[in-house]
Structure formats: C-alpha cells, structure tokens
C-alpha cells in the first residue's frame, strides 16, 4: 500500500535500458523562460478560442493544476476574462495501474458551473506517451460532456504511443527514451524550471 505522491507525475521516465552514465540536469527553460512560455500559451488560447469565453481549464495533477491556474491568471491579465479552472485527477483511469505500486489519488475539483457544453482545455506539464491524456479523456466522459476538448502542455517530448496531439505546446523538446524531463514549479517544488537529464 505504500505510495508516495512525489512519485506520481514528476518523472516521466522511459522504462527502457539506459545507455551510458547518468548526466547532470541541463536546464531547458529557466524561470523567466517558463513565464514567457505560459504567456504565449495564454495568448494562443485566447486566439484559438475567440476570447476564451465558455472555456474551462482543467489541470491534471500534480503540476498541471498550478499550470492551469497560471494560464488563467495570464488570460485575465491580458483580456480581463475570468476563465474557470478545475483539477481532474486521472489516476483511477490509467491503463498502467497494474504495472506499478498503487498511486496516491489527487483531488478532482470541477468549476461550479460544470463542464457540460463548454470548451475544455486540459493542461499538463509533459506530453510523452499520451497515456495520461487518454486517461483524462475517459475521466472527462464520467464527469460531464464538454462541447470540445483541447490539450495544452508545457513540454512535448515526443515518443507517443497513442494518436494524441496537443493544441498548445510550450516547448517541443526532442528527447531520447533514456532521458528524464523534469518540470519544477514554484507552487509544488519551490522553483520554476524545466530540466533534462539522462537516467543512470
């Protein structure tokens, strides 16, 4: 029954044999870069959703949730539009539950008006194999019926195993499977940064 929250979504690591020795983490986005990337995603959402009316941002725990809140803040700063923000935990919908120890559940909090008929933008930190997003689509179906679902990610590192593509991408980052992309946010980790490192 032992699970740790930290092990939940931080490290999106490949489970293939690694080649070579572990490397020290290389910074891909600094705090200032990350802020600019979030601003750009906020602008893109405003553009693509015609002013973000009838739009709901749903963050996927752990780091998708603060990211969604930050994007909503920036949208408000740019256009004075209040975009409802929620949190959607997808743990119970994952198809890889049986391959590892049980994960701790995160919260699911939907905006008061729900998501029926809205444009839902799912927000996550790293898009990798696409399994998390598939689970999120299943979870969404159980909590409501959005008019449209889009996906915003901070980093797209490739290696998709499912036909899933993000609508808003902060940074396209070509990676090897043995590499680990780590997103740190001030809310959860005390610092804003995106780093990459080869696993040992």
């Amino acid at each position: 029954m032992a699970t740790s929250k930290a092990a939940q979504t931080t490290s999106k690591t490949a489970q293939t044999p690694s080649e070579g020795a572990p490397t020290t983490p290389k910074t891909i986005l600094s705090g200032a870069d990350l802020q600019r990337v979030i601003d750009r995603i906020a602008h893109q959402i405003l553009e693509k959703t015609e002013g973000a009316l009838d739009t709901v941002l749903l963050g996927i725990p752990t780091r998708g949730a603060p990211l969604a809140r930050r994007i909503a803040q920036r949208i408000h700063a740019f256009e004075q539009v209040e975009v409802p923000v929620g949190v959607l935990d997808v743990t119970l919908y994952r198809d890889d539950l049986r391959s590892q120890a049980p994960r701790a559940l995160g919260p699911t909090e939907l905006p008061a008006d729900g998501i029926d008929g809205r444009r839902v933008v799912l927000v996550d930190d790293v898009l990798f194999r696409g399994r998390t997003v598939r689970a999120a689509l299943d979870a969404l179906r159980d909590v409501g019926r959005p008019a449209l679902v889009q996906l915003a990610v901070l980093v797209d590192r490739g290696h998709r195993e499912l036909p899933i593509r993000a609508d808003y991408v902060g940074k396209n980052l070509p990676t090897a499977l043995a590499e680990q992309v780590r997103v740190s946010l001030a809310e959860t980790d005390g610092v804003d940064a995106v780093t990459i490192q080869r696993e040992g």
């Binding site: 029954m1 032992a2 699970t3 935990d89 119970l92 919908y93 539950l97 049986r98 391959s99 590892q100 120890a101 049980p102 994960r103 701790a104 559940l105 995160g106 919260p107 699911t108 299943d138 159980d142 909590v143």
Partner: protein, 303 residues
Amino acid sequence: MQHLLSADDLSAATATEVLDTAGELANVTGREVKKLPTLRGRTVVNLFYEDSTRTRISFEAAAKRLSADVITFSVKGSSVAKGESLKDTALTLQAMGADAVVVRHGASGAPHRLAGWLDGSVINAGDGTHEHPTQALLDAYTMRARLGRLAGLKVAIVGDVLHSRVARSNVRLLHTLGADVTLVAPPTLLPVGVSAWPATTSYDLDAVLPDSDVVMMLRVQRERMGDSYFPSVREYARRYGLDAPRVRRLPEHAIVMHPGPMNRGMEIAPEVADSPRSTITEQVANGVSVRMAVLYLLLGGKG
C-alpha cells in the same frame, strides 16, 4: 501490503493513506456516473460464512463502483452445508481466478488461515470476536469527517467489548492514529487481558461522558452469549444504555456512533439513534468509500 487481516496491519501512514483515498473516492458517490474503470477485469469474491447485510452489500457496492467482477458466495445453500472445508473452498476460489477474497467467518482467525492458502488478497470482513478492520477504518473516517481530526480525540467505546470485533479493531486503529480510547462496560463484558490493550477501562458511563468527543455504542450480541453476563436487559439499559438525559451530559460537539445493527431501546434509545449527533447512516455511506479505498490500494497496483 497484500492482505488486510487486522487493524494492526495498518501503520499510521498507511491508515491515513486509506482515509485520504476514501475521501477522494467519496466524491464519486456524488456523481451522476458512480463508476470507475480502475479494477476492470479483476474478480472480487465475497465469501460470507455468517449473515451480514451491511458489510456484504457495502463490499459489493465498493467493488462494483470500481468495475471489478463480483461473486457473492453465501454459505447457506452452498457445498459448505455438505461438509466442504474452508481450505477446499479456498482452492476452488483460487481455481476460479479470484484476485481478492472478502471473508466473514464465525471463527476468529479464519481469514489468516485463508491468506496462507490463496495467492490473491484476503480482506477480513469480520472474524468471530476477533477483528473487523474495515469497520474501524470507516469509523475513523467518520470521526475525522465530523470532528476534523483523530489525534487527541477522546473516544468512549461502550457495551459488549468482550464479544466485539469492532471494539478490538477500533482500539488498535485509533491508538495508531493517536486517539485516546476508554472502554466502558460491566466487568463481565470486558475480556480477560484487557489491561494489555492500549486503552483505559471504566465501569461508569456517566463519569466518562462529559469528557468524550465520541461515544461509540456497541451492539449487545445476544446471539453470542447466555443470559449470565448481566442480570436483565432493563438493568443493562439503565446502566449502560445511551438515552437522551445521558446525551445531555456530552460536550456540545460530541458525536454518537453505532456500528449497527442496533438493539433500539437496549444499548441506544431510539431518539438518540435518530438525532443529529448520531452518525449511524453516515457510517454506512462512508463504509462504501473506505472499502473502495482498501480495494484500490490492495488491487489497484502491482500485487
């Protein structure tokens, strides 16, 4: 952790994890679609050697909400009546591919035996007068939901402690989670060796009430006893029954619990059972969330 046989299997961290998971799962109960795909393809067998309504239905609802296949096996009308042993029943379940067996048995220790014969998980749903760990978890969950904490709570467990697996599991779990338990019962209904339990004891309910945050009334298990434990039902009710005047001695915030089924008018007065202080129906609702959490944590990951 593979099995849940005793409240002693749970460390403070694990127990808190179960309660937190149950808290998240409770939200599912409020949804239009009360079903999660988490345990799709897993088989949960409810093996009930003793009659039970709420525990059996609670486990059944919990497993179904997680999309497990549920087989409920009541001993009445089964081959056990023809003399099949527990071990042979276990091997049959094994052959059918049971991933978890929820067992209720009249003999203390039966789930422990079963755990030795099965590859899957065994969950103790009450064995004799021994333990009922998921009941203790749902009681702890209910206390935490109503009072906001468990550490430092003063809990009085009142009545037939001798025959009560609920009391045993609650004393162990509440001690692990930092609550102070006082067992209140006539001397004849306290087990030998109770002094070794992590709880204090008292024969005087009225003295304990003003200092209690929680009063948990136990059912007087008339089916497990002769009439010799106390002189009469009336005398028992007068000294250890929770009636309205006694409830007025409780602090304002205190809650009244009962694991059910109740003997109304004996250990608990009807007006107390139905009062806003009573958590009896909440305990039933919370039972489903807690059992979902246990099934998820035992079966949701790699075994």
